[in-house]
């Protein structure tokens, strides 16, 4: 089974940690950060197979983070994972190049199937 490198960006620390642990159990290697700027810094020095990005981050709004990511890296898929998303957010993020727009709470199996799709595409 392929080892995926994931970056989870979410200000809900416990949620982000717990999701990382679950994904780690499923042969994923997860990095977690809780701020937008922090995520951008990490992305400068490390590549990931997938980024899970919350919208409501305390320092930079998620869509802005997405914009900056796509300015330098158009290949890494970004999944927006939010509990507050509106239709406008969905449309904006999809236009900015998000791979998917998902609502919390999230089924882990659903996320794994998306990962599998990404894996197939990259292969």
């Amino acid at each position: 089974m392929k080892q995926y490198n994931l970056l989870i960006v979410d200000d809900e620390q416990r949620f982000a940690d717990m999701l990382a642990r679950r994904l780690n159990l499923r042969a994923c290697n997860c990095d977690v950060c809780y701020r937008g700027r922090e995520a951008l810094k990490i992305l400068k020095r490390k590549n990931f197979d997938l980024i899970l990005l919350d919208l409501h981050l305390p320092d930079i709004y998620g869509s802005e983070v997405l914009t900056r990511i796509k300015e330098t890296d158009t290949r890494t898929p970004v999944i927006i994972l939010t509990g507050h998303g509106t239709e406008k957010d969905r449309r904006e993020c999809m236009q900015l190049g998000a791979y998917a727009f998902m609502h919390k709470p999230l089924g882990i199996e659903e996320l794994m199937s998306i990962l599998a799709q990404i894996g197939e595409m990259s292969a």
Binding site: E12, R14, F15, M18, L19, R21, R22, L25, G83, H84, G85, T86, E87, K88, H103, K104, P105, L106, G107, I108
Partner: protein, 593 residues
């Protein structure tokens, strides 16, 4: 027949007369449209009719006065002329007698031949004289010239003889006397050289006098005759009694001048009476000249015109009342319809606002719950992951089952929050041509198995195979699916579901979904589109299905209504436009940020 007539009358009644939508009452600007209508009809009719009626009355009175004064004037003129004629008739003959007694001696007058000669000359000069006689101071007729043999008659007991002793000239009333023919006698008294008096008496035929009077008669409704001062008729009258009888009218008051009065006759008819007390310069007479005109007869032509005017005015009043009533009814009805449309819009807006505010609140709550829910989900999932990894826990069914309960509960909460967000959000509408029959068929496809299993009969009635509208197919499917789901939850096994779709005018379609399930009480009907309103058992339904359906129908520019009777069934009617012209606006909502 009577029922049909009542139905016809009922259909003519304006809508404000039987307003039914009581739930709209608080939104109406005016409350009592019948009162407004009544006041309107009264004021408009009064404004139009009062001047007309007042002018008509004034006009009638003026005409009446004018006609009255004209008739009075004419009557007075006739009476005055007839008075002069009668006065002249008597005065002329009195003058002849005065001349005779002054010029001819008593002894000569008692000569029968000379008296006959004088009579002949008088007849030639004036006519109308029957005889001539001389009566001495004892009342004995000493000489007579005429057709009767009355010489030697004693008149000392006659009233006229007594009266003549007091004055020099005398005119009698008309009487029959010894000859039994109506006649008048006129007397002239003179004195003999020995100081005793004698009287020259002439008898005048009444025919000449009657002819004179008749010449002043003017038409069938006029009467002219003489009466004496006691009211005994002297010449024949057409309407007020026979000769020598008491006339049926009162004797008028004495006046030197010709007078005219308006009074009533014995039958209550209005009459105009012109009268004059006849008096010559030589002697007074007992006669009163009466000229009587019946007002009704004299005013016949005017009455006819008056009647025509009254009919015309009456007809005009009826037309005015009819036009005012119709106009007022039309205007008040238009006002009522506009007010009702406004009330319906306000009621709808209030309902929409209520739904929107509840929806926004619900969506806000859903957003806030999502993050902790996600944490629970991940934590429980992680615990489960750990247990699955460790052999000793993987076989503990109770432990795994309990973790699954937590995950199921989280999933259920997630479903609710997603539905709430779906209720609050507006999504893009993709307009395309949609065949209603196919959409209904697609939706029912999901329920065919259940219907078969539960013996629920489904009947689809779409008369037009190509009944197409331009709308969002996905949303229409969701609407129909929600409603059909609702029916399947509401009906017992063995019931039926009926779906009907047809055109409602050129630019609308109606889709009705009916069942014979348990129905709903009336008090629930106004709440069923509110979020979280459910009649199902606690936990069995979210109460969002119909609220979402309502929002979707509105998004497609449609309307949804419901009718229901307990234990009889429920009918949902969706009305959708066949074409959505304008782009549907998108309301992002102000939630979650």
């Amino acid at each position: 027949m009577i029922d049909k007539f009542r139905k016809l009358l009922g259909s003519l009644r304006p809508e404000f007369y039987h307003r039914t939508a009581e739930h709209l009452n608080p939104y109406f600007t005016f409350t009592d449209y019948r009162k407004i209508w009544a006041i309107g009809v009264f004021l408009l009719a009064a404004t139009a009719l009062v001047p007309l009626i007042v002018v008509t009355i004034i006009h009638n009175q003026l005409i009446q006065k004018s006609v009255d004064s004209e008739i009075i004037l004419r009557t007075e003129r006739v009476a005055s002329n007839a008075r002069r004629a009668v006065t002249f008739f008597l005065e002329e003959r009195l003058n002849a007698l005065r001349f005779t007694v002054n010029e001819i001696e008593y002894d000569q007058l008692t000569n029968s031949d000379l008296l006959a000669e004088i009579l002949r000359n008088l007849k030639l000069g004036f006519g109308g004289l029957t005889d001539l006689s001389v009566i001495d101071h004892t009342g004995i007729q000493v000489a007579y010239a005429g057709p009767f043999k009355l010489e030697g008659k004693n008149y000392s007991n006659q009233i006229w003889f007594v009266e003549c002793q007091k004055c020099n000239f005398y005119v009698s009333q008309i009487f029959r006397g010894y000859r039994d023919l109506p006649h008048i006698i006129i007397l002239a008294k003179s004195f003999r050289p020995d100081g005793t008096f004698f009287i020259l008496r002439a008898t005048i035929e009444t025919e000449r006098l009657i002819q004179t009077l008749s010449s002043y008669e003017t038409g069938a409704h006029a009467d002219i005759f003489l009466t004496n001062r006691s009211g005994i008729i002297q010449t024949s009258s057409k309407h007020y009694g026979k000769i020598f009888e008491k006339m049926t009218l009162p004797v008028p008051n004495f006046s030197h001048r010709t007078q005219t009065v308006i009074s009533t006759d014995g039958q209550g008819g209005s009459i105009i009476t012109g009268y004059a007390f006849i008096s010559t310069q030589i002697a007074d007479t007992p006669f009163i000249l009466m000229v009587i005109k019946q007002k009704a007869g004299m005013m016949g032509a005017w009455q006819e015109l008056h009647s025509k005017i009254n009919w015309f005015v009456g007809l005009g009043i009826m037309v005015i009342i009819l036009v005012v009533t119709i106009t007022c009814t039309f205007m008040v009805n238009k006002l009522y319809l506009a007010d009702r449309a406004k009330a319906e819009t306000m009621a709808l807006m209030e309902q929409n606002n209520q739904l929107a505010s509840i929806g926004q609140l619900a969506a806000g709550v859903a957003h806030e719950i999502n993050n902790p829910l996600a944490l629970i989900n991940e934590t429980a999932g992680y615990v489960k992951d750990l247990f699955v990894i460790k052999e000793q826990y993987r076989k503990d069914e109770e432990l795994m089952e309990n973790i699954d309960y937590i995950l199921e509960a989280v999933e259920r909460c997630g479903t609710i929050t997603r539905q709430l967000l779906g209720f609050a959000r507006k999504f893009d509408v993709k307009i395309q041509k949609v065949n209603l029959k196919e959409v209904i068929s697609d939706v029912l496809h999901f329920h065919n198995k259940e219907a078969e299993y539960r013996n629920i009969k489904i009947h689809v009635d779409v008369p037009e195979d190509n009944l197409e509208i331009e709308t969002d197919q996905g949303k229409l499917q969701q609407i129909l699916l929600n409603l059909v789901n609702n029916v399947f939850q509401a009906v017992d096994n063995g019931c039926w579901l009926d779906i009907h779709a047809s055109h409602n005018g050129p630019d609308k379609v109606d889709i009705t979904i009916s069942d014979n399930g348990c129905g709903m009480p009336q008090e629930n009907l106004s709440k069923i589109f509110e979020p979280f309103f459910t009649t199902k058992d606690r936990g069995a339904g979210t109460g969002l299905g119909l609220a979402i359906t309502y929002g979707l129908v509105k998004k497609l520019h449609g309307n949804i209504s419901v009718e229901s009777k307990e234990k009889e069934g429920t009918t949902f009617t969706i009305t959708l436009p066949t074409l959505i012209h304008e782009e549907i606006s998108e309301d992002e909502g102000s939630i979650g940020r």
